[in-house]
Amino acid sequence: MKALQTAFDLVLMLALLWLAWRALAAPDLFKGVVLFIAFGLLMALAWVRLHAPDIALAEAAVGSGITGALLLSALARSRRLERDNPPPRRRDP
């Protein structure tokens, strides 16, 4: 049982590191953001393993959910800006 848990921990840690690396290095930003959200969910799993259910809840809701939504909406805004390709504006307070 102990060995199984240790193995699970090791796999989880490696998956976390791998996901972080892939999320940052993914050539496609959308894919990067999706991988980052997955990374957040895996983080929540790690919090559960470390007996931190409060943090797991917060991570799933804030770290992964809301941050993911923020990232996706910023990405969509960025794509819209790119598509519309407006002339650089000097001032829009």
Binding site: P88, R90, R91, D92, P93
Partner: protein, 505 residues
Amino acid sequence: MTFLETAPWMIWTVLLPLCAGICTFLFQRAAPWLGVAAALGNALAVAALAAQVLRGGSLRYPVGGWGVPLGIDLRADGLSTLMLAMSAVIGVAVSVYAARYFSDEDAEDDLEAQRHKRAYFWPLWMFLLAGLNGLFLSADIFHLYVTLELLGFSAVSLAALAGQRAALVAAMRYLLVSLLGSLCFLFGVALLYAAYATVDVTTLAGLAKAGPITWTALGLMTGGLLMKSAVFPLHFWLPPAHANAPAPVSALLSALVVKASFYILLRLWFELFRGVVTLPAANFLGLLGAAAILWGSFQALRVRRLKLLVAYSTVAQLGYLCLLFPLAQNAGVAFTAWSGCIYFMLAHACAKAAMFLAAGNMAHAAGHDRIAGLDGITQALPLSVTAFMLAGISLIGLPPSGGFIAKWMLLKAAIASGQWGWALLMLAGSLLAAGYVMRVLRHAFTQVDKALPLHRVPRTMEWTAAGLAVLAVLLGLMAARPLALLRIGAPVADAAVAAVEGGPR
């Protein structure tokens, strides 16, 4: 009377700006009034606190009544009180200036942009003040992280307030640097907690022993804070961020915000990690400071824009602060160097805020801030140019200014301990500062027949700049009281005391 003596004034220096932040956000029309009133109220609270500290020595306040290690302690000793006083004084002057600067009739561009800036300047500045005061009072390194973020967010938003391309880019860079710096600091906090199970500065100072954990924590935290204090070569973000902000914001950022992270650095190096730091590490910081003085001054001699010149001068002046690290390693002169460094911060805060406000006036009048285009501005703005000159006197370090006293103490420490290299460097830095101040004054005093097309500059804006500049000079004549305050709870022992005890180093 007893109320004045016993009330927890330090709490109010945080709560009052927070409440003002809420109110200026909700009641935008009254914001300038509320902001100035809050700055004045804060100054009164700080004065009452200073009286308490002068009378009764350092104060500690356990928030929530828990006390360390479970709770968060606030602490007001001489150093934190002086820093609070610095923010309070600059805060009042800049608030008065800003109330006018952001008013409708002094709009530099369209009215809507001006109203936008006014609507957001006040709450952001109030939160900045709360962050500053909270930071100076915190004796808890995790709480320091929270205040650093409060400070960083408001500083970045203020830097972006002008809204033009250069300001947005500079603010973005500033935000990234600020977040990276905070994260490095936070990792250091985590390491220290992991090793010692407390985040209280005083407790940690008693526990911290040299070893891989403290070395790594010291390195990470120092790196993060050097980044936030824009110490060479991590200064790259500062000149554009400070030069492209509205004048009152530039004054706040240059005079106060960079000092806050440097203040934490002082707490770490001379208190928390005092048994961990080594002479080579201190000398390394000194070398960074030397490079900052030279590089910042050369850039200030080169750039064509006035506000950029003043911003590069900040990079150079921050270098002097770093000279404290090597100078204070000699126990005999440590306290002299310590006093010199702190006094340098005070003098620089006044002089630099005055200089940015004066530069803002010149830019407001001329409609641009190209130095070459300021010929003859003295004819229109004699008071602002005088303010710039007086502030320059303090930056150069000419007697009887505050800058002179500060440099004198640093020089005394360098010479008394035989560290001639640092002494020569300081003299060279003064010459360079004279060079870049003269660059501006030469143009300003050039007589021209045809006056520039000038905008009117309100008298309030001229007088606040002049007031701060006069204060920068006066600091040289009334150094006794601040230095007495600084002695209270100082982490660096007085030379006489150190000689008796043999000194920690």
